[in-house]
């Protein structure tokens, strides 16, 4: 069996319109970023809320948050995606259902499903990080805040969360990177993100080594850039004199 190496494949026409294979990768990367960023925003907001709830004295609220975490962490991501994409739409009210299934472009409905799925899935992980961060703070910090007359929301807003979020930047960085990697499951419901475009290129051009090498490179560079970005964020918010900060 002879393999025909051709690293110039990316600049060749795909045979569809005027597109070259590189265009596919760029479109794919665009979808990957669009999925990951929106899902991350959902995860960050919902996860922080849940993380705070888990640390509250109210049993019902913290119980709800633990239940959420248990559910979303113990069902495989792909199963969750299928549930959101295939099952949930059937349970929507009639009008929403026709909108989702008929009025939307297939790529849009797939996009919505995967963003919701990945957002809620990652929220469970963010929740655990936020909770860990809050619980890592000495009890005296909240005591001191209460002693000065802060209300419970103020204690979280001004004392606990600013510190907790700084502590958890490293684990949150890996969750952030995970969202990008996990967004590749979207390829299994037909969203043409990076992985799907890669597979398509491999099939169309028969240059599968080149196609997958390109995808790997893009993910690798993306990963490194995001890590640099988070490192910069960590530096920006680091507090002088605090353990783990780089400044003096």
């Amino acid at each position: 069996m002879n393999y025909h190496w051709d690293w110039g494949v990316f600049f060749k026409s795909t045979g569809i319109g005027h597109e070259i294979y590189l265009d596919w990768f760029i479109t794919g990367l665009g979808w990957t970023i669009a999925v990951a960023l929106v899902a991350w925003v959902i995860a960050l907001i919902l996860g922080s809320l849940l993380g705070v709830m888990r640390t509250l004295p109210n049993k019902a609220l913290s119980g709800f948050a633990s239940g959420y975490v248990a559910l979303f962490r113990n069902v495989p991501l792909l199963v969750q995606l299928f549930l959101w994409y295939f099952l949930v739409p059937d349970f929507l009210p009639e009008s929403l259902q026709t909108w989702f299934k008929q009025d939307l472009k297939p790529s849009t409905s797939a996009y919505i499903s995967v963003v919701v799925c990945l957002g809620l899935f990652t929220a469970a992980r963010v929740c655990e990080q936020v909770r860990t961060g809050i619980e890592a703070l000495p009890k005296g910090q909240s005591n001191a805040a209460y002693a000065m007359g802060f209300t419970l929301p103020q204690v979280y807003r001004h004392v606990l969360l600013p510190q907790a979020f700084r502590i958890i930047i490293p684990p949150m960085t890996s969750e952030f990177l995970n969202v990008f990697k996990n967004s590749s499951v979207a390829s299994l419901i037909g969203l043409m993100e990076l992985l799907a475009q890669t597979k398509q290129t491999a099939e169309f051009s028969a240059n599968l080594f080149e196609a997958f090498t390109m995808a790997t490179l893009i993910y690798f560079v993306l990963n490194m850039s995001l890590m640099k970005l988070m490192g910069w964020v960590e530096n920006r918010v680091s507090v002088p004199g605090l353990i783990g900060s780089n400044g003096k």
Partner: protein, 222 residues
Amino acid sequence: MMDFSQIVPALPALADGMVLTLKLLAMSVAGGVVLGTLLALARLSSLPLLSGLAKFYVNYFRSIPLLLVISWFYLVVPLIYTWLTGSFEPVGAFTSCLVAFVMFEAAYFSEIVRAGIQSIPKGQVNAGYALGMRYDQVMRLIVLPQAFRKMTPLLLQQSIILFQDTSLVYAVGLLDFLNAARSKGDIVGLPHEFLIFAGAVYFVISMGATQLVKRLQKRFAV
């Protein structure tokens, strides 16, 4: 309305899927831990080339999606097999998935093992050398047994994540538990019920395993 009654006759097919899932899981964990341990030792080695290579391997696999690895290996492993052996014997999806999981998970396991080895005080190593042991004896008889005891809970937790991740073999059409449930559901015409059932089974198993690991952790924490 939901109709779960059709799941009962489908149970043998689902059980076959689960057997494949668990087989893949067990072999991946075994292979991943072995390769991961070797990577961790290489990473901690004093030879810059060896530790650099190990570091690159780990960073490489940690920065790409598992699904990419599965898809890639599915296409590539048969090619490489042919190149290496010259034979055109087809390599099944199971084998390429297994190779993908072993290589991918090894990167994650190696980080756990490395942390475990580093948590053993230097004095233990010195004591081993002082007794006249060689490097491999110190590792095999002194450091690794202590390290594995410490990191067992983490390795198990990672295995539970892997248990869920095996469902990604759906991408290459391997009939694991999820795929078996999906195809049975489609045949019977009850895809929702079978999907929910599959989700519930995954939930019960990984939740149960997580609780078990927690209990184990408490016992180990003595």
